[in-house]
């Protein structure tokens, strides 16, 4: 059981704001911190890992104090046994796949654990390879195996699937889920991919501007947007063109390019590079099946 209540001043492109989060995480729970980039999710994860220090507050794990601002206690990252999986995987380029896992072993731990993990993750054939020669998906599996080799008490995942193609992503999500259940690992993931959050997490914590704006099961949290009868997507303005009386605005939504019509009034406030919300009433959506994903 993890209890935390922390505050930390953050700087973003929009200016200064305060990360102010109170949270309890149950043993073995898979929880996701969801929200826009720059909302403070990664900072929260780093505070849990001991890679960043909050300005004030406390973090307690199973009664052990990891951080206490008032008592000036901060357990170093080395002693927390919180494995952190980085977005860039942070594999050690000088070590083989096997070497990376062996490096992560706790002093005195059996090398059998490395063999088990290599087998479990299907990395046996790759064990002598250097990380630079691996594909994105393979690197991700090595990073996950390495995180588990350290026998963590807490697994922290920072947008673990963001650099992967769709098929690899789905396969690895299954793998993460399987291993997380197998080891009964308390896991905190940072993500802004709704499908991933839906699939993996038992609880979603939505973070906006450093504060928790909403939390609950994924179905409960993401239903909110639908029940209001609206779709809304965050996008970025790529171009604005004049077309007679109206304006055609080209937007990047997710990884798709969309052209929409805007009135002169709307377009006046927009410029290239602006972040916008694209909203629509859900009265006439078209749903077309494009194939199944095999689990």
């Amino acid at each position: 059981m993890i209890q935390l209540d922390i505050r930390k001043k953050l700087l973003s492109a929009q200016g200064e704001f305060q990360l102010d989060v109170q949270l309890e995480i149950a043993q073995g729970e898979f929880i996701t911190l969801f929200g826009q980039s720059g909302a403070g999710k990664t900072t929260l994860l780093r505070c849990l890992a001991g890679l960043a220090a909050p300005d004030a507050g406390y973090i307690k794990v199973k009664g052990e104090v990891w951080f206490d601002g008032a008592a000036r206690v901060a357990l170093p990252a080395q002693q927390r046994r919180a494995s952190y999986m980085f977005q860039d995987y942070a594999l050690f380029p000088n070590m083989s796949v096997r070497g990376n896992l062996e490096f992560a072993l706790r002093p005195g731990a059996s090398h059998k654990r490395v063999d088990e993990l290599l087998e479990m993750m299907g990395l046996g054939e790759l064990q002598q390879r250097k990380p630079d020669t691996l594909s994105g998906g393979q690197k991700q599996r090595v990073a996950l195996a390495r995180a588990l080799a350290a026998e963590p008490r807490l697994l922290l995942l920072d947008e673990p699937f963001s650099a992967l193609d769709h098929a690899t992503r789905v396969r690895l999500q299954d793998e993460v889920l399987r291993l997380q259940r197998h080891f009964g690992l308390t896991t905190v993931m940072v993500s802004h991919d709704i499908s991933e959050v839906y699939k993996l997490s038992q609880r979603v914590v939505v973070i906006e501007q450093g504060c928790i704006s909403q939390q609950g099961g994924p179905a409960e949290v993401f239903k909110a947007g639908v029940s209001s009868g609206k779709f809304s997507f965050a996008g970025e303005v790529l171009a604005i063109e004049t077309a007679d009386v109206a304006f055609a605005v080209t937007l990047l939504v997710g990884n798709q390019i969309v052209r929409v019509i805007a009135s002169a009034d709307e377009a006046r406030h927009l410029k290239q590079g602006d972040r916008v919300m694209l909203m629509s009433k859900a009265f006439n959506p078209m749903l077309v099946a494009v194939g199944h994903t095999d689990a």
Binding site: A49, R80, D88, A90, F92, N94, F103, R106, A150
Partner: protein, 229 residues
């Protein structure tokens, strides 16, 4: 002690390589940790330190040599202190040359190694920390092995630069055979006494050795690049 071979006195050359090797060794011990510290520190006076470290690149060696001579002089505070407490005479001695060379070649070790450390993503050290590894273990097993080309550049440049030193040695070492008469000084000396054959001999050896070292480094670097790419 003389080291005659093939009709030439090899002593200045041996002394040069002894000085370069010792200087490089000391620079490894203090320059690499210092470069790591410089790569990560956020102290406010870092630009001052960076400027100081780079000074030997732009100053005439005679300026550095002049101040070191004043400092090393047994009449001066520093020289007096070192001589009476450590029993080391620095002015016109081999020990003095080593100290001066370390200062003079400092940027040649620190610059490549510091930029090597800075080019590594911070997540590498952080990953090692979260896996329970100490700073020292991380430094030795993760950081150093991943900046091998920079370390090689630092070692070779320091070594080669120490071989090529003249002005500082001239100022604080003088011309004592077997003690401070390195090859660069010997060349000057031989030319002054119109002994061109001997000057040519020293010059040719220095030229060949420096060329061979630099060529080896570039070849080795190319192999390392090819293995990575």
């Amino acid at each position: 002690m003389t080291a005659e071979w093939m009709g030439y006195d090899w002593q200045p050359l041996l002394l040069t390589f002894k000085l370069a090797a010792l200087t490089t060794l000391i620079l490894c011990l203090i320059g690499i940790p210092f470069a790591w510290w410089m790569a990560h520190t956020r102290v406010r006076f870092k630009p001052v330190l960076e400027a100081l470290v780079s000074m030997p690149l732009v100053l005439p060696p005679s300026v550095l040599g002049f101040y070191l001579l004043l400092a090393f002089s047994p009449q001066g505070a520093v020289g007096h202190f070192i001589e009476s407490f450590i029993g080391l005479k620095l002015a016109f001695s081999f020990a003095g040359l080593v100290v001066a060379s370390v200062i003079f070649s400092f940027p040649f070790m620190v610059h490549p190694v510091q930029s090597g450390f800075q080019s590594l993503p911070p997540s590498l050290s952080e990953a090692a920390y979260t896996l329970g590894k100490s700073r020292w273990q991380t430094f030795v097993r993760v950081l150093l092995p991943n900046i091998k080309p920079s370390l090689l550049a630092g070692v070779v440049l320091s070594f080669a630069h120490t071989i090529g030193e003249f002005g500082v040695v001239m100022m604080i070492g003088g011309n004592l055979p077997g003690e401070t008469k390195v090859a660069a000084i010997a060349i000057y000396d031989e030319v002054e006494s119109l002994n061109y054959a001997a000057a040519n001999f020293y010059a040719l050896v220095l030229f060949s050795v420096c060329f061979a070292i630099l060529l080896a480094v570039y070849l080795l670097n190319r192999r390392m690049m090819m293995r990575v790419g």
